[in-house]
Symmetry: none
Subunit: 407 residues, 2 copies
């Protein structure tokens, strides 16, 4: 029997008031080095509330994808949601489109785009058009929106920050991935995009991109310095079985940043809007408690300050989350998992492969008799070292959602 | 996507001066028992240099093959080199041939051989011919070398220690494995060898072995007590993708014993000759620093004294390695991994399945805040319990050789 079938065959109905909460402190895992005086932000932070939860929890560490593999936010979160990130690859264009808040539909082909500067011969002279301000970007995107449709396909354009924007093609019989139009260095012309793997759908998508260029470049011809644009990571929104189909749980996503709501939407989670702080996110959980079985709550700032190499601020964010944690605990969920989607170590200023610490709390999680939720404590936890994609199974087991296997 | 393809797709070019060092203390892992006063050699040894490295390292334990499986040197090392030992089985004849220093070529068929005593009816009376001295063995092998060629196939014969030697058939269209000619107990005649799996190549190899017996036994007929020989583990040298092909690293092997150089050669590592002590091995690394990206350095004596059940000497070898470790650290590698290929516990006097301790040190390994490199310390490390075959991925990640996966 396949392990997926095994879990399905053991699935019991939810007991009343079953609530699973996955609290993701994005990039929370870190490394201790001489640079950080051999402490991690989790170690340095004062976290009385988290400590109390930790003392009654099972803990461990999770490999986000494979040993030594550093994940982006897409694979990182898919793993946490119980999807093997290698089975469900999500292209960069799709992630970018989700990031600017476009509500993608299955089959949409999305591209990361950025404005560039071309010379009179059409040679790329500045791949980022001098990093034009966002307001200029928005005006240029408004111009490009004259192109609403090519053949039978809708075109959706949305500005990001600085020189970055997104182009989405929504129609029938198109697919990615396509090669980049970005030559990846200055001094070369814009490249023609081609299917990465030949197929009628990919060829149609490539043709639409060429036609789009044909109409769009003249619209920008008089602009300075952004008289051109480059496309990268052109990919389609994959059809992924929904979270509800796979786990029979009504799931909600509570996040501030569009990308994380988008990633949850990829697998059919309902996104709950209107939160700007962690306190508001926890309050949203209380408000929506009755309407869902599973809540994904996302805190972004741990990752942001990790990327900035800002030890103090990353530590401060953890302390802030700790301070408002009692809001969440007003209605204690059946199962609470706290972890990251990957590590973002301060000394590395970026995502990394280091397994992220994880804490699992329920009436039956057991306690590992460890005092705090830190990297070195979780190293000694009963959950050991395991893959992110298995976390959902442990959460469901802790909610008593699986029957015994065999007699 | 396949995980092997994943790693390939993420491979970045080596930054300048990227050096990965795998220091194998053969069989270093051990177990604490009443017999050893509940200490392991790593615990008993005074290792100030190793301790200092350990304090800045990530640590864990590795399963050499599968839980409960005790590996020989072949699978043990293949795992460390990033080859799943079940995908790349290397027959005992091949290992033995590498061990006596024969430079095998892909397709060679090799057999472990030992001299035996036959009675007048051809019945095996002593399977080891009274363990004749090595000098006698060498004279007998010289006699057998009259047989240089059978049909279109070269025959290579090389003496080992005591009654053991190796026979290699080098030609076209031959393969193993073949059944043993050794009846495995006294009182039976030499057995005819047969293909384990029928194939034209295996049948040709079996025929060559029979013809070899036909010519060889008369050459020994007058000898006493070694008037016969038995063959075991007849196998061919497999075609294995090279380390360079798989990992794009120029690799060198620094070892004293031929078998370990041979195992490294199996996957195309360059063997560096002329070292007799660990200090010389470390010096060789310094001398060859510019010429390679990856260095496999092998220390044998930890395993030897483990096999002898000699706690004091195994401990002393660890202390000796510690004393000369500063030579290696004169040119600190980008990534240093220290481990064994398996455990060889003193109380067991042999290889075992116990996961071996491993230490990983780099600028981004992080520190697990553990004081020493011992079994009990590594039990609490951030690397957790993982498979030997994944070590190369962690080493490469620590050298920053992988791009981020997904956005």
């Amino acid at each position: 029997m396949d392990f997926e079938d095994l879990y399905k065959s053991l699935r019991l109905p939810n007991p009343p008031d079953t609530k699973l909460v996955l609290l993701v402190l994005d990039g929370v895992g870190d490394i201790a080095t001489a640079e950080t005086q051999f402490k991690t932000p989790l170690e340095a932070a004062k976290t009385p509330n988290l400590d109390q939860v930790a003392r009654g929890s099972a803990m461990g560490r999770m490999i986000p994808v494979y040993p030594g593999v550093t994940p982006g936010s897409g694979p990182g979160h898919l793993g946490l949601f119980g999807y093997d990130p290698l089975d469900y690859e999500v292209g960069r264009g799709v992630i970018e489109a989700l990031g600017v808040g476009i509500e993608l539909q299955g089959g949409d082909v999305a591209a990361r785009a950025n404005y560039c500067t071309l010379d009179q011969q059409g040679i790329v002279r500045d791949r980022r058009a001098g990093r034009i301000p966002t307001e200029v970007n928005e005006k240029l995107c408004e111009k490009l929106r004259k192109i609403k449709r090519i053949e039978d396909t809708d075109v959706i354009i949305k500005a990001g920050k600085s020189h970055r924007f997104v182009v989405v093609f929504r129609g029938k019989d198109i697919e990615g991935p396509l090669t980049d139009s970005d030559p990846h260095r200055e001094g070369l012309p814009i490249k023609k995009v081609e299917p990465v793997v030949k197929s009628a759908k990919a060829e149609k998508a490539a043709r639409l991109v060429s036609l789009f260029y044909g109409q769009a470049l003249p619209l920008l011809a008089e602009e300075k310095p952004a008289n051109g644009f480059l496309l990268r990571g052109i990919a389609h929104m994959p059809h992924i079985p929904t979270f509800q189909e796979r786990f029979a749980l009504r799931a909600a996503a509570i996040a501030v940043y569009p990308m994380y709501k988008g990633l949850a939407q990829l697998i059919g989670m309902r996104k709950l809007e209107g939160t700007n702080t962690t306190a508001e996110e926890f309050q949203k959980y209380l408000d929506e408690y009755d309407n869902f079985d599973y809540f994904f709550i996302h805190v972004k700032a741990t990752d942001m300050y990790g990327e900035d190499g800002n030890f103090e601020q990353k530590t401060a964010v953890i302390e802030e989350v700790d301070k408002v944690l009692p809001i969440l605990l007003k209605k204690k969920p059946t199962v609470l998992a706290i972890t990251g989607d990957h590590s973002t170590p301060v000394p590395m200023k970026g995502h990394s492969w280091h397994p992220q610490p994880v804490l699992l709390h329920s009436a039956v999680s057991g306690s590992d008799n460890l005092e705090r939720f830190t990297e070195t404590h979780t190293n000694r936890g009963s959950l050991g070292l395991f893959y992110s994609k298995d976390l959902i199974r442990l959460m469901m087991a802790n909610a008593r959602l699986f029957d015994k296997f065999g007699a």
